[in-house]
Protein backbone atom coordinates (compact mmCIF):
# COMPACT_ATOMS: atom_id res chain seq x y z
CA UNK A 1 0.00 0.00 0.00
CA UNK A 2 2.83 2.33 0.82
CA UNK A 3 4.14 1.82 -2.69
CA UNK A 4 0.71 2.31 -4.16
CA UNK A 5 0.27 5.62 -2.44
CA UNK A 6 3.65 6.82 -3.64
CA UNK A 7 2.68 5.63 -7.09
CA UNK A 8 -0.52 7.63 -7.06
CA UNK A 9 1.23 10.91 -6.48
CA UNK A 10 3.80 9.92 -9.02
CA UNK A 11 1.04 9.38 -11.52
CA UNK A 12 -0.32 12.78 -10.79
CA UNK A 13 3.01 14.33 -11.53
CA UNK A 14 3.23 12.29 -14.68
CA UNK A 15 -0.24 13.39 -15.67
CA UNK A 16 0.43 17.05 -15.06
CA UNK A 17 3.58 16.62 -17.09
CA UNK A 18 1.47 15.21 -19.87
CA UNK A 19 -1.00 18.06 -19.70
CA UNK A 20 1.73 20.67 -19.79
CA UNK A 21 3.51 18.97 -22.66
CA UNK A 22 0.21 18.87 -24.56
CA UNK A 23 -0.15 22.59 -24.05
CA UNK A 24 3.38 23.18 -25.25
CA UNK A 25 2.83 21.02 -28.33
CA UNK A 26 -0.37 22.90 -29.10
CA UNK A 27 1.39 26.20 -28.78
CA UNK A 28 4.30 25.05 -30.91
CA UNK A 29 1.95 23.98 -33.69
CA UNK A 30 0.14 27.28 -33.40
CA UNK A 31 3.26 29.39 -33.44
CA UNK A 32 4.49 27.41 -36.41
CA UNK A 33 1.38 28.04 -38.40
CA UNK A 34 1.23 31.63 -37.31
CA UNK A 35 4.73 31.96 -38.79
CA UNK A 36 3.31 30.97 -42.16
CA UNK A 37 0.67 33.67 -42.03
CA UNK A 38 1.35 36.61 -44.31
CA UNK A 39 3.66 34.49 -46.42
CA UNK A 40 1.42 34.27 -49.44
CA UNK A 41 0.42 37.88 -49.62
CA UNK A 42 3.99 39.14 -49.25
CA UNK A 43 5.05 36.61 -51.81
CA UNK A 44 2.50 37.95 -54.25
CA UNK A 45 3.79 41.45 -53.69
CA UNK A 46 7.47 40.48 -53.78
CA UNK A 47 7.50 37.85 -56.51
CA UNK A 48 5.01 39.17 -59.01
CA UNK A 49 7.28 40.86 -61.57
CA UNK A 50 5.21 44.03 -61.84
CA UNK A 51 8.15 46.40 -61.88
CA UNK A 52 10.16 44.26 -64.30
CA UNK A 53 7.35 44.10 -66.82
CA UNK A 54 6.51 47.75 -66.44
CA UNK A 55 10.15 48.72 -66.80
CA UNK A 56 10.45 46.61 -69.96
CA UNK A 57 7.44 48.32 -71.43
CA UNK A 58 8.30 51.85 -70.29
CA UNK A 59 11.89 51.61 -71.29
CA UNK A 60 10.97 50.38 -74.74
CA UNK A 61 8.61 53.35 -75.06
CA UNK A 62 11.30 55.80 -74.01
CA UNK A 63 13.78 54.14 -76.29
CA UNK A 64 11.62 54.26 -79.38
CA UNK A 65 12.03 58.02 -79.19
CA UNK A 66 15.79 57.84 -78.72
CA UNK A 67 16.09 55.33 -81.53
CA UNK A 68 14.04 57.50 -83.87
CA UNK A 69 16.36 60.43 -83.25
CA UNK A 70 19.41 58.25 -83.76
CA UNK A 71 18.00 56.70 -86.92
CA UNK A 72 17.75 60.15 -88.49
CA UNK A 73 21.26 60.95 -87.37
CA UNK A 74 22.50 57.71 -88.96
CA UNK A 75 20.54 58.54 -92.10
CA UNK A 76 22.33 61.86 -92.33
CA UNK A 77 25.83 60.49 -91.76
CA UNK A 78 25.67 57.11 -93.54
CA UNK A 79 23.75 55.88 -96.54
CA UNK A 80 21.26 53.87 -94.51
CA UNK A 81 17.61 54.68 -95.05
CA UNK A 82 15.67 55.62 -91.95
CA UNK A 83 13.67 52.37 -91.66
CA UNK A 84 16.79 50.25 -92.05
CA UNK A 85 18.69 52.29 -89.50
CA UNK A 86 15.72 52.14 -87.16
CA UNK A 87 15.53 48.39 -87.45
CA UNK A 88 19.26 47.96 -86.89
CA UNK A 89 19.21 50.06 -83.78
CA UNK A 90 16.11 48.38 -82.48
CA UNK A 91 17.63 44.93 -82.98
CA UNK A 92 20.69 46.08 -81.12
CA UNK A 93 18.51 47.33 -78.26
CA UNK A 94 16.51 44.12 -78.26
CA UNK A 95 19.62 41.93 -78.01
CA UNK A 96 20.97 43.92 -75.08
CA UNK A 97 17.65 43.76 -73.23
CA UNK A 98 17.42 40.00 -73.83
CA UNK A 99 20.84 39.45 -72.32
CA UNK A 100 20.25 41.70 -69.36
CA UNK A 101 16.96 40.01 -68.51
CA UNK A 102 18.39 36.54 -69.11
CA UNK A 103 20.79 37.10 -66.21
CA UNK A 104 17.76 37.07 -63.92
CA UNK A 105 16.21 34.02 -65.54
CA UNK A 106 13.67 35.96 -67.50
CA UNK A 107 13.04 35.53 -71.19
CA UNK A 108 12.09 38.71 -72.95
CA UNK A 109 11.67 39.60 -76.56
CA UNK A 110 11.24 43.06 -77.99
CA UNK A 111 10.77 43.11 -81.72
CA UNK A 112 9.88 45.81 -84.17
CA UNK A 113 6.76 45.08 -86.19
CA UNK A 114 6.42 48.18 -88.30
CA UNK A 115 7.05 51.87 -88.45
CA UNK A 116 3.93 53.86 -89.16
CA UNK A 117 4.18 56.85 -91.42
CA UNK A 118 1.27 59.12 -92.19
CA UNK A 119 2.33 59.82 -95.78
CA UNK A 120 4.50 56.86 -96.64
CA UNK A 121 7.60 59.02 -96.50
CA UNK A 122 10.10 58.49 -93.76
CA UNK A 123 10.79 62.00 -92.59
CA UNK A 124 10.97 63.30 -89.05
CA UNK A 125 7.40 64.61 -89.21
CA UNK A 126 5.80 61.66 -90.90
CA UNK A 127 6.84 58.87 -88.59
CA UNK A 128 4.30 59.11 -85.81
CA UNK A 129 4.00 55.62 -84.44
CA UNK A 130 5.95 52.41 -84.16
CA UNK A 131 4.45 49.00 -83.52
CA UNK A 132 6.46 46.75 -81.24
CA UNK A 133 5.85 43.26 -79.91
CA UNK A 134 6.90 42.84 -76.30
CA UNK A 135 6.89 39.50 -74.53
CA UNK A 136 8.08 38.55 -71.08
CA UNK A 137 8.21 35.17 -69.39
CA UNK A 138 9.76 34.21 -66.08
CA UNK A 139 8.29 30.73 -65.93
CA UNK A 140 5.33 31.76 -63.83
CA UNK A 141 4.16 34.96 -65.41
CA UNK A 142 3.73 35.37 -69.11
CA UNK A 143 3.16 38.78 -70.60
CA UNK A 144 2.74 39.70 -74.20
CA UNK A 145 1.79 42.97 -75.81
CA UNK A 146 1.24 42.35 -79.47
CA UNK A 147 1.54 44.96 -80.68
CA UNK A 148 2.39 47.75 -78.30
CA UNK A 149 1.67 50.99 -80.12
CA UNK A 150 4.22 53.63 -79.29
CA UNK A 151 3.78 57.24 -80.31
CA UNK A 152 6.99 58.93 -81.29
CA UNK A 153 7.01 62.66 -81.53
CA UNK A 154 9.22 64.97 -83.50
Amino acid sequence: MEDLRKDTSGQWIALSGLVISLIIIGLAVLANQAALAGYHSSNAALEFPKENIRELNQHTRDNAQTIKDMAFYMNSTTNETVPVAFEQLFDNYSTQMQKLYAVHGEVVDVSLVSINSTTGNYTMEDIDMVFVNITYDDGRTHYSAEPEIIEVME
Binding site: V19, H40, F48, K50, R54, R140, T141, Y143, S144, E148
Partner: protein, 147 residues
Protein backbone atom coordinates in the same frame (compact mmCIF):
# COMPACT_ATOMS: atom_id res chain seq x y z
CA UNK B 1 -17.79 6.22 21.06
CA UNK B 2 -16.28 9.45 22.16
CA UNK B 3 -12.98 8.27 21.01
CA UNK B 4 -14.46 7.35 17.69
CA UNK B 5 -15.81 10.87 17.11
CA UNK B 6 -12.69 12.54 18.38
CA UNK B 7 -10.46 10.47 16.21
CA UNK B 8 -10.51 12.18 12.82
CA UNK B 9 -7.67 10.30 11.35
CA UNK B 10 -9.76 7.69 9.59
CA UNK B 11 -12.04 10.34 8.16
CA UNK B 12 -9.15 12.36 6.92
CA UNK B 13 -7.69 9.65 4.77
CA UNK B 14 -11.13 8.88 3.30
CA UNK B 15 -11.94 12.52 2.90
CA UNK B 16 -8.61 13.21 1.31
CA UNK B 17 -9.12 10.36 -1.04
CA UNK B 18 -12.59 11.47 -2.05
CA UNK B 19 -11.71 15.13 -2.48
CA UNK B 20 -8.55 14.30 -4.29
CA UNK B 21 -10.34 11.99 -6.65
CA UNK B 22 -13.17 14.47 -7.20
CA UNK B 23 -10.82 17.27 -8.13
CA UNK B 24 -8.74 15.10 -10.38
CA UNK B 25 -11.82 13.64 -12.06
CA UNK B 26 -13.35 17.10 -12.37
CA UNK B 27 -10.22 18.53 -13.89
CA UNK B 28 -9.78 15.73 -16.34
CA UNK B 29 -13.44 15.89 -17.31
CA UNK B 30 -13.09 19.59 -18.07
CA UNK B 31 -9.87 18.96 -19.93
CA UNK B 32 -11.23 16.07 -21.94
CA UNK B 33 -14.47 17.86 -22.78
CA UNK B 34 -12.70 21.05 -23.79
CA UNK B 35 -9.43 19.66 -25.09
CA UNK B 36 -10.76 19.21 -28.59
CA UNK B 37 -11.94 22.76 -28.67
CA UNK B 38 -8.92 24.24 -26.97
CA UNK B 39 -6.21 22.28 -28.70
CA UNK B 40 -7.77 21.53 -32.07
CA UNK B 41 -10.59 23.82 -33.00
CA UNK B 42 -9.47 27.15 -31.62
CA UNK B 43 -5.97 26.94 -33.13
CA UNK B 44 -7.49 25.59 -36.30
CA UNK B 45 -9.89 28.48 -36.41
CA UNK B 46 -7.03 30.89 -35.85
CA UNK B 47 -4.89 29.27 -38.50
CA UNK B 48 -7.75 29.13 -40.97
CA UNK B 49 -8.67 32.74 -40.40
CA UNK B 50 -5.03 33.74 -40.81
CA UNK B 51 -4.31 31.71 -43.88
CA UNK B 52 -7.55 32.45 -45.62
CA UNK B 53 -7.15 36.16 -45.15
CA UNK B 54 -3.54 35.77 -46.25
CA UNK B 55 -4.51 33.94 -49.43
CA UNK B 56 -7.35 36.35 -50.09
CA UNK B 57 -4.94 39.23 -49.75
CA UNK B 58 -2.51 37.49 -52.07
CA UNK B 59 -5.19 37.18 -54.75
CA UNK B 60 -6.34 40.73 -54.28
CA UNK B 61 -2.80 42.17 -54.31
CA UNK B 62 -1.89 40.11 -57.35
CA UNK B 63 -4.97 41.22 -59.28
CA UNK B 64 -4.30 44.84 -58.34
CA UNK B 65 -0.66 44.61 -59.40
CA UNK B 66 -1.58 42.83 -62.59
CA UNK B 67 -4.28 45.33 -63.42
CA UNK B 68 -1.76 48.15 -63.30
CA UNK B 69 0.40 46.66 -66.05
CA UNK B 70 -2.24 45.22 -68.37
CA UNK B 71 -1.16 45.53 -72.00
CA UNK B 72 -3.45 47.52 -74.30
CA UNK B 73 -3.31 44.75 -76.87
CA UNK B 74 -2.18 41.42 -75.66
CA UNK B 75 -2.39 39.08 -72.77
CA UNK B 76 -0.91 38.37 -69.40
CA UNK B 77 -1.19 35.33 -67.22
CA UNK B 78 0.45 34.32 -64.02
CA UNK B 79 0.58 31.06 -62.12
CA UNK B 80 0.33 31.04 -58.37
CA UNK B 81 0.66 28.50 -55.61
CA UNK B 82 -1.79 28.10 -52.81
CA UNK B 83 -1.68 25.52 -50.05
CA UNK B 84 -4.11 22.63 -50.66
CA UNK B 85 -5.50 22.96 -47.16
CA UNK B 86 -5.90 25.65 -44.59
CA UNK B 87 -5.84 24.11 -41.13
CA UNK B 88 -7.58 20.84 -41.84
CA UNK B 89 -9.94 21.87 -44.60
CA UNK B 90 -9.92 22.49 -48.34
CA UNK B 91 -11.41 25.70 -49.65
CA UNK B 92 -12.69 27.51 -52.70
CA UNK B 93 -11.70 30.98 -53.87
CA UNK B 94 -14.67 32.73 -55.39
CA UNK B 95 -14.23 35.90 -57.42
CA UNK B 96 -17.61 35.83 -59.13
CA UNK B 97 -19.13 38.29 -56.73
CA UNK B 98 -16.30 40.77 -57.37
CA UNK B 99 -18.24 42.83 -59.86
CA UNK B 100 -21.12 43.68 -57.55
CA UNK B 101 -19.43 43.63 -54.16
CA UNK B 102 -15.78 44.47 -54.88
CA UNK B 103 -14.87 41.42 -52.87
CA UNK B 104 -13.09 38.10 -53.20
CA UNK B 105 -14.51 35.38 -51.02
CA UNK B 106 -12.82 32.30 -49.62
CA UNK B 107 -15.10 29.53 -48.42
CA UNK B 108 -13.85 26.47 -46.59
CA UNK B 109 -15.42 23.21 -47.65
CA UNK B 110 -16.35 21.57 -44.35
CA UNK B 111 -17.16 24.25 -41.86
CA UNK B 112 -18.29 26.78 -44.46
CA UNK B 113 -16.11 29.45 -42.93
CA UNK B 114 -16.01 32.58 -45.09
CA UNK B 115 -13.29 35.16 -45.33
CA UNK B 116 -13.74 38.18 -47.58
CA UNK B 117 -11.11 40.50 -48.96
CA UNK B 118 -11.74 43.74 -50.80
CA UNK B 119 -10.17 44.53 -54.17
CA UNK B 120 -10.13 48.29 -54.19
CA UNK B 121 -12.41 49.49 -56.96
CA UNK B 122 -10.80 47.59 -59.80
CA UNK B 123 -13.66 45.25 -60.54
CA UNK B 124 -15.94 48.04 -61.75
CA UNK B 125 -13.70 48.71 -64.72
CA UNK B 126 -12.38 45.25 -65.37
CA UNK B 127 -14.66 42.23 -65.09
CA UNK B 128 -13.14 39.74 -62.70
CA UNK B 129 -14.62 36.30 -62.51
CA UNK B 130 -13.83 32.70 -61.82
CA UNK B 131 -13.45 30.29 -58.97
CA UNK B 132 -10.51 28.17 -57.91
CA UNK B 133 -10.49 25.12 -55.73
CA UNK B 134 -7.51 24.56 -53.49
CA UNK B 135 -7.40 20.87 -54.30
CA UNK B 136 -6.59 21.31 -57.98
CA UNK B 137 -2.92 21.48 -58.84
CA UNK B 138 -2.52 24.39 -61.25
CA UNK B 139 -3.85 27.84 -60.63
CA UNK B 140 -3.65 30.79 -62.94
CA UNK B 141 -4.98 34.30 -63.32
CA UNK B 142 -5.15 35.43 -66.91
CA UNK B 143 -6.18 38.44 -68.91
CA UNK B 144 -6.63 38.85 -72.62
CA UNK B 145 -7.46 42.19 -74.17
CA UNK B 146 -9.22 40.52 -77.10
CA UNK B 147 -11.75 38.69 -75.00
Amino acid sequence: MKRLFADEEGVSILFEYILFSLICIGFFMIVSVNSDEIFMQTPNEVVMQNEMSDIGNMMSTMITDMYLILPANGQIDTKYDIPPKVGTETYIINADIAYTDQIIELVSSDSGKKVRVTIGGIATTMPINGTASSSSTNHMISYDSRR
